[in-house]
Amino acid sequence: MKQLAKLAESTALHEWMLSTEWLWPWLEITHFFGLSLLLGALLVIDLRMLGFVRQINIKVTHSLLPWVFVGFGLNLVTGVLFFIGDPMRYSINIGFQIKMGLIVLAGLNALWYWWKLHDEMDNWAPDINPPALAKTIAFISLACWTGVLLLGRLIPYVGTG
């Protein structure tokens, strides 16, 4: 992580992040908008997977997935720029480190869904009350992303890891 931070500091992007006025707040605003898209779309998918709003066909909720990826993409780009702009601050920050861990966990959880449930879902009734495994995965997903949001905002207030 330390080497990554050093590398980031030597880039032209780092200079650009520091020297461009008003860039930081606009990237933050984009980051907020991105997280709203990500969580908003995910809430529809995961709440249905938890067994709520059964009037929605569970298979159709996946048409919201592109919005999850749009939100994630926006935040990946803006997030990488934050890191490049102030790498020494983020790399040693415990809030940032746990946040990154939770994002990885959320990714593994999504893979778990893909591996165990994705194909099986074709056989589900549209108004199914999903099995326990589906509910578990949906719960972990929402818990991880809520944690990501909370920790992201705590970064300026917590110490070094």
């Binding site: 809430l43 009037q55 048409s63 705590l154």
Partner: protein, 152 residues
């Protein structure tokens, strides 16, 4: 009045304890994501996205968006109380509150229109579609002005 508000117990806890302010800020992000996220999905659906989902089926989710609103009204009030005198003189803050009021009125109106459609939902009126676009702009504006409170 705002001076007295800053002296209340909750204001002092938020303003002076180690974790009061950060906890409220963090909750404010979660509420924002629920509120803006779910409303945005609802409005995208009104505009014709993911049309496999019945418009009326979205209504329970919109109810959940109001949960986000309550989280942010409470955490926002707590944040406000800690620095009330500064906030009331902040232009971006005042703009943000105005935009939120507008967003709430639009949301209530759109929600009642969609409820009126019932299950025969496929012909959303142009008026509601225009309001959906405006509403999305209003919430993005609220995010922008909210973030600029810290900079202006």
């Amino acid at each position: 009045m705002f001076e007295q508000l800053e002296m209340t117990e909750i204001a002092l806890w938020v303003g002076e304890s180690v974790w009061g302010y950060p906890i409220m800020l963090s909750l404010h992000v979660v509420g924002l994501a629920i509120l803006v996220g779910l409303f945005t999905m609802f409005y995208l659906r009104i505009l014709g996205a993911f049309s496999g989902i019945n418009l009326s089926a979205f209504l329970p989710l919109v109810k959940f968006a109001w949960v986000g609103f309550v989280i942010n009204a409470v955490s926002g009030a707590a944040l406000f109380s800690s620095q009330a005198m500064t906030f009331v003189e902040s232009l971006p803050f005042l703009i943000k509150i105005g935009l939120i009021a507008l967003g709430v009125v639009f949301a209530a109106f759109i929600q009642s229109e969609v409820r009126r459609y019932g299950d025969t939902s496929e012909s959303v009126s142009v008026r509601v579609k225009v309001l959906a676009v405006l509403s999305m702009a209003v919430w993005v504006g609220a995010i922008i002005s909210g973030r600029l409170i810290a900079y202006l």
